[in-house]
Amino acid sequence: MKIEQLKQDWFGNVKGDILSGIVVALALIPEAIAFSIIAGVDPMVGLYASFCIAVVIAFVGGRPGMISAATGAMALLMVNLVAEYGLQYLLAATILTGIIQFIFGVCKLAKAMKFVPHSVMIGFVNALAILIFVAQIQHFIGETWIMYVLVGLTLAIIYLFPRFTKAIPSTLVAIIVVTAIVILGNIDIRTVGDMGALTQQLPVFFIPSVPFTLETLMIIFPYSFALAIVGLLESLLTANIVDDMTDTESDKNRESRGQGIANIITGFFGGMAGCAMIGQSGINVKSGGRGRLSTFIAGAFLMFLIVVLGDFVVQIPMAALAGVMVMVSISTFDWSSVRNILKVPRTDAFVMVATVAIVLVTNNLALGVFAGVMLSAIFFAAKISKVTVTDSLVEARNTRIYEIVGQLFFASVSDLPKRFNYEDAVEHVEIDLTDAHLWDDSAIAALDKIESKFKDANIRVTYTGLNTESKQLKNKIQGIPSEH
């Protein structure tokens, strides 16, 4: 059964997988180079990463047909590390990222994703889109109007070419056309070659040359942790999208472990940390890719192209890559969140905007997500901490009945005692907790306080309608029976 499943995963869709893998490889090249440039490393680092990650994840990933490679989200997190400490520390951080992700997967923490509310995820993708866009501005500095024309041309081809055929990725067509114009027209403009060296070699195994000390660990750990979280967040989001697009299920914990293994291996082969890519995975599925073979072909064919076409790649003008990145940014951004910003609940909109703002201020996607989750938790606590107290008098029994409705916990009980009238002229108060739930000792303490205040006024207090769970908590904390 297992072998059969494996066979189906790999060879269930050979023709579709090979074709789509080739299409993805072509579409990956410009992005891998552009993301390397965002991170501040040579283009080879992103290309090696895309090759290694795609090939490794084809074997160990949990979502067949999903494409993982060097990504913008990850590149943006490494900028400072590369600028301050250099490439070797980035490679070490990549390996540590993989280790963290692997542990995450082994502990089956993929479920923790559900604690990231969708307003935070939307903030995440929007912030990512803005950062990718902003990262392109540097390429315009010191360039003439030709730069703007070429970027415009790149974008025009990217968006209009699919109207004629979708067989070839339009980003690739745009790059070829714009590069040809620059070469034939002898236009003097910055190219990939100016950004760093491109070697036409397969990646080799080596151990990053960093001192193996606690100090190194302290330097790379914050980066690795952020990379691990963001990588898994985007990978699991992408896995959900691919699940939905193909109407199939996937193993999220296996995917987490797979992302870890892929990043560990990539680090040892001179590549930067990466994760799953929403856009590329979409291209793969749309081009007919379903199985693991498609991801494998994407990585392998990419490396083949670099080895064969390296001389051409260095001549790609930055204008063409900037155009591709603008497209990536536009398609990453969730435009409906802007259209609907006044329609969605105000707290949701606030969390989304706050997530974006924190990312833009700190330049750190992980911090934005963390703050967004915190903020959502606070809003949630505020929302469920609304407790209503209504009272009614039963004159025959000289009793006032208070009905408490809501969740009683530390955030909701601070004002609770004030909502009872302790100068009442009754003998007996009945607190009806049928629609209330006691969650913690703050809730018990609040009820105790109410009880003792009534006792001071010589009013007897009884509780009714306590649910079993709340009763257990109350007994455990107070050690006295709650009902007569």
Binding site: H118, V125, I241, D244, I278, G282, V285, K286, D334, S336
Partner: protein, 138 residues
């Protein structure tokens, strides 16, 4: 003649008009309707981003085609509804062949030439590629 009709819907006003046509048509021939809603890449991306779990996604999609279901429910014709995944044009054609339908009924968004060049017209694609007659409702 039109025993089994594929009705392509997207929850928009245009598709509601198509539903009404399909109901009339099916009544005349005493046939059945297969209502199809195709989730494309962008919709999948958006729906996943906006939902916390799969049930929520499913519920949202059901909500989207609810007006269409209601119309079909009221009409007492025999029908089935399907949520499919892929690119709308090719997926509709594929499903039409799978189910051997006699006719595809689809609403037209009424795009002008520039719009249909930029956005791509699903109804045109279906009309071009389907093996059976296609009724484009304007």
């Amino acid at each position: 003649m039109f025993k089994r009709i594929l009705l392509a819907v997207d929850g928009s006003e245009h598709s509601i008009r198509a539903v009404k046509y399909a109901i009339e048509l099916v009544k005349k021939f005493d046939g059945v309707i297969e209502a199809v809603y195709v989730v494309d890449e962008n919709t999948a991306k958006k729906d996943v981003l906006y939902a916390t779990n799969k049930f929520e996604i499913e519920a949202k999609r059901k909500e989207k085609i609810k007006p269409i279901r209601e119309l079909l429910d009221q009409s007492d014709v025999v029908f089935g509804t399907h949520v499919l995944h892929g690119e709308p044009g090719p997926r509709i054609v594929e499903f039409a062949e799978e189910r051997e339908v006699d006719c595809v009924v689809i609403g037209s968004r009424g795009l002008n030439q520039v719009q249909s060049f930029l956005l791509g017209s699903v109804s045109h694609k279906v009309a071009k590629r389907a093996a059976c007659p296609v009724l484009i409702v304007k």
